[in-house]
């Protein structure tokens, strides 16, 4: 009887999964990153050679993957996050019923994230004259020939950013909406007595500090979902590598080396770089938000 009350029974299921699918993979990635491993022979230790190669010899990584990833992350992350906050704040200014309807509409694109629904965008940007955007532009006389939106390096990155921003009102957005709604009203009253004069001051001096926990949560969600969305270029263009590496993000580079070339040690090194990037960016975001008290 007493045995079943032990905390350990409550902990075992979740933490077993956590160990197997989070801790072990991270440790394994770190270990493999110091080895040569082709998935057939056992891994052989080669020190930091993978990392050296990544920085000095992998021109695709330095020329395309890293700049693409930074560009994608630095646009989608902050813009998506700011947009989420602004929309959440505005939604809090209107009564509950219309707010709920509009919030559902704004949230619903984030439900389409994932490979299964990138098909939707492939229809919209389809490259022949029957593609929706193409036929509109043709019909309006803006273009004379259909544009190969998804296979041209020129457009792919922009479309990836638009699609990602479109679906960036996810869990973080909902958290921030709840945050704005729960700010204590007396705080506002006190602030207006203390001389807050307009709504911008109100946002910066009252709303954001009062909902800082949700802001931080939203920021972490924004960073993680931005990097997690990395497969979108491959899903849209239908090929890995993407045309002329235009939409190649770090996640695709891992897949390319890991599952296409079977250089798993090298791919693991890229994974470690990615995990570090997410960690550092989250921490920096945290610092920036934390200081604005």
């Amino acid at each position: 009887m007493n045995k079943i009350n032990r905390p350990v029974w409550f902990l075992i299921p979740y933490w077993t999964l956590f160990t197997v699918f989070v801790i072990v993979p991270v440790v394994a990635a770190i270990y493999l990153s110091f080895t040569y491993f082709n998935a057939i022979q056992p891994p052989s230790f080669i020190g930091i050679r993978n990392y050296i190669e990544l920085v000095t010899m992998d021109s695709v990584f330095m020329q395309y993957v890293l700049p693409n990833t930074l560009k994608f992350a630095l646009i989608v992350g902050p813009v998506g996050y700011t947009l989420s906050f602004m929309l959440a704040w505005m939604l809090a200014q209107i009564p509950k019923k219309p707010r709920t309807v509009l919030a559902i509409i704004l949230y619903s694109p984030s439900l389409t994230m994932g490979v299964a629904l990138s098909s939707m965008w492939r229809i919209i940007f389809s490259s022949d004259s029957q593609g929706y955007i193409n036929s509109l532009l043709l019909n309006w006389g803006i273009i004379l020939e259909p544009i190969q939106f998804l296979s041209s390096p020129q457009f792919l990155m922009t479309i990836m950013i638009i699609v990602s921003l479109w679906s960036s009102m996810g869990v973080g957005f909902l958290a921030m909406l709840a945050g704005v709604l729960n700010v204590d009203r007396t705080l506002y009253e006190a602030a207006y007595i203390d001389g807050v004069r307009n709504r911008f001051q109100e946002i910066f001096y009252i709303t954001i500090p009062a909902m800082k926990p949700q802001m931080l949560f939203g920021a972490v969600m924004a960073v993680v979902s931005t990097f997690q969305a990395g497969t979108i270029g491959v899903a849209l263009s239908g090929s890995n590598p993407t045309p002329e590496y235009a939409g190649q993000l770090i996640v695709n580079h891992i897949e390319d080396y890991g599952f296409i070339r079977y250089m798993m040690g090298y791919a693991a090194a890229i994974s470690v770089v990615l995990l570090l990037m997410v960690y550092v960016i989250s921490k920096v975001t945290w610092k920036i938000l934390g200081e604005r008290k």
Binding site: I4, N5, P7, W9, F10, L11, P13, Y14, W15, L17, F18, V20, F21, V22, P25, A29, M90, I94, P95, K96, T100, I104, I105, L106, S108, P109, L111, T112, G114, V115, A116, L117, S119, M120, R122, I123, I124, S126, S127, Q130, V171, L177, A178, V180, L181, Y188, E189, P213, Q214, F217, V220, V224, V251, E255, F259, M264, A267, A268, S271, V278
Partner: protein, 295 residues
């Protein structure tokens, strides 16, 4: 002076009634939402267009004579591959339901222990989980693949479920919610002789129902929409999921005009369950999000 400000203010954040001052927000939000809704509306219309309208030039946005042709064509195409549509659908349904239930029980148990039980290392575990909020599963797909291969999960239904329900965010949300329930409730149940399991199922679970619903919805989305587990861990065609099948079918057909209608129908079939579930549970989700803050 004070009075004027407070009445001024109460008309603003979370207002009860419509007020003229809200008009600018309404205008912006409605325009913006409409823009956001366009791609989804487009798919909805496209899915019900007959062939003649799919081929129409210039293309129309709205469907004129809606039909189920695309859906019928889709199920015929799927069945012609040797494995009936229902098989993929049942696979998805099965792994999603089992996954959602396991996610709720596993994360709920752990959250309860971290919130209300006393043991060593509790704080450390919660900190590890908070750190794991930053974890990007896609980064470690190779080690995960190796682990799944080593543990013999390849080609089992568990390969669809177990990696997807390890969700630090879900554990975090449900733990923060349980923190809000008063200790007295649990203490008095203990005095009455209830075991921790009984307390969890009979007292805590009903109180934290909103958080449980939220975890359920997150698990549902993660599993129902996922194509990666079918791609990487399951080679047995008869055990793959609907999402995977839709993806492969669409990437094969999506570029032809005839395929577009089917692709849209497939997209709709995948998307609607997510949306309906969210609409049903949205007030519970919002309730949970109020406690989502990171301190």
């Amino acid at each position: 002076m004070k009075k004027r400000h407070s009445s001024f203010m109460s008309a603003r954040i979370n207002p009860q009634y419509f007020h003229r001052s809200q008009i600018p927000f309404f205008i912006f939000l409605i325009l913006f939402s409409t823009l956001m809704l366009l791609p989804i509306l487009f798919i909805l219309n496209q899915a019900f267009k007959p062939q003649s309208e799919l081929f129409a030039y210039p293309p129309r946005f709205f469907v004129r004579n809606p039909t189920f042709d695309n859906f019928i064509e889709l199920s015929r195409l799927i069945s012609s591959s040797g494995i009936p549509f229902s098989r993929y659908f049942l696979n998805s349904l099965f792994v999603t339901i089992v996954g959602v239930l396991l996610a709720i029980i596993f994360t709920g148990f752990s959250a309860y222990a971290l919130s209300k039980l006393k043991f060593k290392g509790k704080k450390l575990l919660f900190e590890i989980n908070t750190l794991a909020l930053m974890f990007v599963p896609i980064a470690v797909q190779i080690p995960r693949f190796l682990i799944i291969a080593k543990t013999g999960l390849i080609d089992t239904y568990f390969a669809h479920i177990l990696p997807m329900i390890t969700m630090p965010v879900a554990m975090f949300l449900i733990k923060q919610f349980i923190d809000q329930t008063p200790d007295e409730l649990i203490e008095s149940a203990k005095i009455d002789g209830a075991s921790e399991m009984q307390i969890f199922f009979k007292i805590v679970a009903p109180i934290v129902a909103p958080a449980i619903a939220t975890v359920g919805i997150l698990a549902f989305q993660a599993i129902w929409n996922d194509t990666s587990t079918s791609t990487l861990y399951v080679n047995d065609e008869s055990k793959r999921t609907l999402a995977f099948y839709m993806m492969t079918m669409v990437s094969g057909q999506g570029n032809t005009v005839a395929g577009q209608g089917m692709a849209a129908a497939a997209g709709l079939i995948m998307f609607l369950p997510n949306l309906i579930l969210f609409i049903i549970l949205q007030s519970k989700v919002m309730n949970t999000m109020a406690h989502s803050g990171l301190k």
